[in-house]
């Protein structure tokens, strides 16, 4: 004769109706999640954009195309300067984001967050440029969220001149090997801060 099963083992061996229903629901959730993940790997489709920007508020649908198709071969820099008077501008200052990594970054790397945020914001900004093109140019771009994030960040940097107008520049460099010249991605107008 078999010894009596413990309650948990009993449930594993003889699933009840509730557990069967629960299993079916979870199986459906996983199937849907997996299928959505597959479909959303095609990032430039309308369906993918709709899911990512409208439905997936928690970022649960991953994009697994790490470093592809564009491998990310630039360092991004965020610089700003103030207007001193109508004809003179202050020196460019750089926000300390793209610094060299420390020796311990293989296990402790808090700085990666700033860099990733800036990289994401810039890529989002570049991607949104065509959407904001009008007959008058790109004036509406300054209402886009990535633009506002950058403007908000630079507007809180210390103002050395005491003046209240600030311009920012997004630039990219090719890192250690310097195989390509630094280039400007975006130069903003002067903003009242």
């Amino acid at each position: 004769m078999h010894p009596p099963l413990e309650p948990n083992l009993y449930k594993m061996a003889f699933p009840t109706d509730i557990s069967v229903i629960y299993e079916s629901i979870i199986a459906s959730v996983f199937a849907l999640w997996f299928l959505l993940t597959i479909f959303c790997q095609f990032r430039y489709t309308k369906f993918s954009a709709y899911i990512r920007h409208t439905i997936d508020v928690f970022g649960l649908i991953p994009l697994w195309t790490f470093f592809a198709p564009n491998p990310g071969k630039s360092d991004y820099h965020l610089l700003y300067r103030d207007k001193i008077d109508e004809e003179t501008n202050g020196e460019w200052e750089e926000m300390d984001i793209t610094e060299e990594r420390s020796f311990w970054s293989w296990c402790w790397n808090p700085d990666k967050r700033d860099k990733k945020i800036l990289a994401d914001v810039i890529q989002s900004l570049i991607a949104s440029i065509p959407q904001y093109k009008t007959d008058k140019g790109y004036d509406l771009l300054m209402f886009s969220m990535p633009y506002l994030i950058v403007l908000h960040a630079v507007s809180h940097c210390q103002c050395k001149t005491g003046k209240a107008q600030r311009q920012f520049m997004l630039a990219e460099t090719s890192g250690y090997l310097r195989e390509t010249a630094p280039s400007v991605i975006l130069l903003s107008v002067f903003h009242q801060i």
Partner: protein, 273 residues
């Protein structure tokens, strides 16, 4: 063969190490959430439309500042420490995993920019463990299903990354690794110089990554000795990306999924042979 309970517990333990480090990193960088920071809620709230401001999530919005998020991250660290004492199979362990999932979901609403694949893998695993261990209802079949889901998502991640690289002219031209390693963000000076001096290493690394990533799902069906090649490759790959590229959180979140690959491989081998 490792049991299903041990496999799930091992996944949770490896994940917890990475999550603890990642959370402490966020605490160190908490100023990015301040009113003057890059992810200030003053700006990030613009992502939510007016109708969303009155939604179910709106009470959470009050937490999205430096202090509120410091509390969330602090509590998350305590929950992770609590998991040392309460295994996943216990009711308390399951509740802690649920709370951990809630804290990840909450913070994901403000880290729209800056989060990466490791954060998504962490959330995916935690939610799966939570759903598959509902006390009194979930059984071993559901726990197995959870492991399959984690394993398949892991394989999908590698395959998609591999195919996307194969489709990229820069990867096929074997310049991508050198280009990435030459950035200050994801590279190292010594690695960039080494690859510039020895282009052959660059070609090897590019094609090695493209082929192994694309073929990675084979680790589920190949006999274990051959599957181990992919597992060891993955371990070395993530270790090197942590050392050279500073992607430390990827190491833990993807290593956490590997016990699921082991389990699935053993299960398939048992059924096949």
């Amino acid at each position: 063969m490792i049991s299903i309970i041990e496999t799930n517990q091992l996944i949770l333990m490896i994940l917890s190490v990475g999550l603890f480090i990642s959370t402490m990193e966020y605490i160190k960088k908490i100023q990015i959430f301040s009113s003057t920071g890059l992810l200030s809620w003053n700006v990030m709230q613009l992502r939510w439309e007016k109708k969303d401001q009155d939604s179910f999530f709106s009470p959470l919005f009050k937490l999205f500042n430096e202090k509120g998020l410091a509390v969330i991250f602090g509590l998350r660290c305590l929950i992770i420490l609590g998991l040392l004492f309460f295994p996943l199979e216990t009711t308390y362990g399951w509740i802690l995993v649920g709370l951990l999932g809630c804290s990840l979901l909450a913070s994901s609403m403000i880290t729209f920019y800056g989060s990466d694949g490791s954060d998504q893998m962490n959330m995916l695993i935690i939610i799966t463990l939570f759903l598959c261990h509902f006390p009194g209802i979930a059984g071993s079949r559901l726990a197995t299903m959870g492991l399959w889901f984690i394993g398949l998502q892991t394989c999908l991640s590698y395959t998609v990354a591999g195919i996307a690289k194969l489709a990229s002219a820069e990867w096929r031209a074997s310049t991508a690794v050198k280009d990435v390693f030459s950035t200050k963000t994801y590279g190292s000076r010594w690695a960039a110089v080494l690859l510039k001096k020895h282009p052959g290493i660059n070609v090897f690394l590019c094609w090695n990554v493209m082929i192994m990533e694309t073929l990675f799902p084979l680790c589920l069906i190949l006999p274990f000795n051959y599957a181990l090649i992919f597992i060891i490759w993955g371990f070395i790959f993530h270790l090197l990306t942590a050392i050279i590229m500073g992607l430390n959180s990827f190491f833990w979140s993807f290593m956490a999924a590997y016990p699921a690959l082991f389990y699935i491989n053993h299960q398939i081998q048992l059924h096949l042979f």
